[in-house]
Symmetry: C2
Subunit: 168 residues, 2 copies
């Protein structure tokens, strides 16, 4: 399962990896109304992500790493949403990995410089979706696919590499 947290929209995407083949299981967005108080919005993110995990029972979760943000105000907002999403995951006890944005784009689009539209198109193609997912769901599916591919490679390298490659 991949998660793309945001203060307004948190995307999630679940894929089933069978060898090098990947299948789309579920994806969607958790939207929070910007006119609602912050605690209520964080509660929505936490509770809906917990519900998604409980219904689809993913075995591993991956999330995009956040680097230096330009705007302190949006960094705080993203941080709060990310904190709520991470809480939902860690309380389930599922293994959690983080990937750099460039690594995610590289994994699905072949280049770390791919834009949102390219990621959306490639995720659609890789998972043979009849219509492209929303941008946030696509980003989450890209994180899931990146984790799936990395895991495949690391599994081939053996369990020690898997452990070293997993950043909790």
């Amino acid at each position: 399962m991949g998660i793309d947290p945001g203060s307004r929209i948190t995307g999630y995407g679940i894929v089933d990896m069978d060898g090098s083949r990947s299948r789309h299981v579920a994806s969607g967005c958790i939207q929070t109304a910007s006119n609602r108080p912050l605690p209520e919005r964080l509660k929505t993110i936490f509770e809906e992500l917990t519900a998604v995990i409980q219904s689809w029972k993913p075995t591993e979760v991956a999330i995009e790493q956040v680097f230096m943000h330009r705007n302190p105000d949006s960094a705080l907002k993203l941080g709060q949403a990310r904190g709520a999403a991470l809480c939902a995951v860690v309380l389930t006890g599922l293994p959690l990995s983080e990937y750099a944005p460039r690594a995610i784009k590289q994994a699905v689009a072949g280049t770390g410089a791919a834009d949102k539209t390219q990621v959306q198109r490639m995720v659609s193609l890789l998972l043979s979706l009849s219509e492209p997912p929303s941008a946030d769901a696509a980003d989450a599916l890209a994180v899931a696919l990146c984790h799936g591919h990395t895991r495949q490679t690391l599994h081939r390298l053996g369990p020690a590499a898997l452990l070293a490659g997993r950043r909790r």
Copy 2:
């Protein structure tokens, strides 16, 4: 109960308000080791705050409002810790209020420009503590006292004022 969230240390303080009299019930700090992975640290904040709420059963919770931060990187870190702390509170269903830093300092030290040491000393004095609490516990107790005093005033003004004064 007042909470002062931080990425390394989250302070908490519980006071009992009886009319205009305030009594110290409990206070302390939740420390997270900076060399541990972020999800684990957020889990610690969430679980320990939940445990504090369960043992002391406060009836209302207050937290400091965060304004524009200078540094985006520390804003993200603070945001994540604050997100975890807010999740712990909202899941208990307790009413949550936010207060501006200046309002908190004003409430305990009589001036919005008070520094950390003044807040620590005044909290000690107001609660007749035999020794001053740590800076983070003192900040959390100051938030609790600010909420207690504001609540008192608003209660005298009637329930409509209480509702208007409470920022969720």
